[in-house]
């Protein structure tokens, strides 16, 4: 298993991340996509979030160990952004499940559907969207380097490193997928 994931190519990670972004965009407007699609995509996105974090687990461990230590400003901002994003997404997915009107009831599970949870879901989802924009922006240079590498163009820096790691951040041995 370790060999499989450690050899997961950068293209695979990029496709996974891109898929998450597309799914997030699809979730923005439940009126447009339909409630059933909205709920199922949200549930799947919650599951894929686990894969996304697991793939970047070494970075999570590295920055968590240095939570109270001195860190470069960029890494600290990334740490805070990612922490907030995880919290808001966990709440958004959880509250979405709590107010599910189609997905869970179709499985025979009734949910609370209270207005409190609807408000929590709206707030956490909107906060998540804003933070996702910031998250993508903070990792945008990694995205571009990876795209260039996949396209066969030379890159100046190791494309396996996220921006925070490549410049003043914590360096961990992420698989290059080579």
């Amino acid at each position: 298993m370790q060999r499989f994931f450690s050899r997961m190519p950068l293209a695979g990670r990029l496709i996974l991340d891109t898929g998450m972004l597309i799914a997030t965009i699809a979730l923005i407007d439940p009126h447009a996509s339909g409630l059933s699609v909205h709920e199922w995509v949200g549930i799947v996105l919650g599951a894929v979030l686990f894969v996304h974090i697991t793939l970047n687990w070494q970075w999570v461990v590295a920055v968590t160990k240095k939570m109270f230590a001195s860190l470069p400003r960029e890494t600290r901002i990334n740490q805070i952004l990612n922490g907030l994003l995880f919290i808001f997404m966990a709440v958004a997915v959880g509250s979405g499940i709590a107010i599910s009107e189609e997905a869970l009831p179709s499985l025979g599970i009734l949910t609370s559907g209270s207005r409190v949870w609807m408000n929590v879901h709206g707030l956490s989802a909107n906060a998540s969207l804003i933070l996702i924009g910031a998250h993508v922006a903070m990792n945008w240079q990694w995205v571009m380097r990876t795209v260039r590498r996949i396209a066969g163009k030379t890159v100046r820096k190791n494309p396996s490193l996220r921006p925070a790691q490549a410049r003043g951040g914590i360096t961990v041995n992420l698989p290059t997928g080579a």
Binding site: F86, L104, S106, L110, W117, V120, M138, G168
Partner: protein
Amino acid sequence: MTAFMRWIAPPFVILAAAIVVFAVTSIGATGSLPRGSISQARLTSEIAPATGVRISGQAPIARTGNANANATAGAIARPGPSGRGNLSQSSSGIMVLVTLLTKSALVIGVPGLATYLAYVFFLQRRDERPVLA
């Protein structure tokens, strides 16, 4: 780092963290942990035991053992909390795409662009070397 610690444990740690976050939010928002229940149509005809709320204004559904019919009846009878029932009817065509792209540009693109500009102009330092963990 062993394979267990690298690939098996993280999902459980993430799940535990997510549960803790959600539980804390639930207690903060509602004063209690969230509770779900098995479809009441499968258990009883009219009253949801967990909440004591009547889930249908219709006559009680007889327990005939027809699980599919009862489940369907329960799903239909379940009231939408805020009239979201109309969300089940999705739009179609180019308007969906336009709507999604416009909204995503506003709620994801604008904060992302602002963050990227701040990142490039205020955070990026090309002369910094990576700090080893």
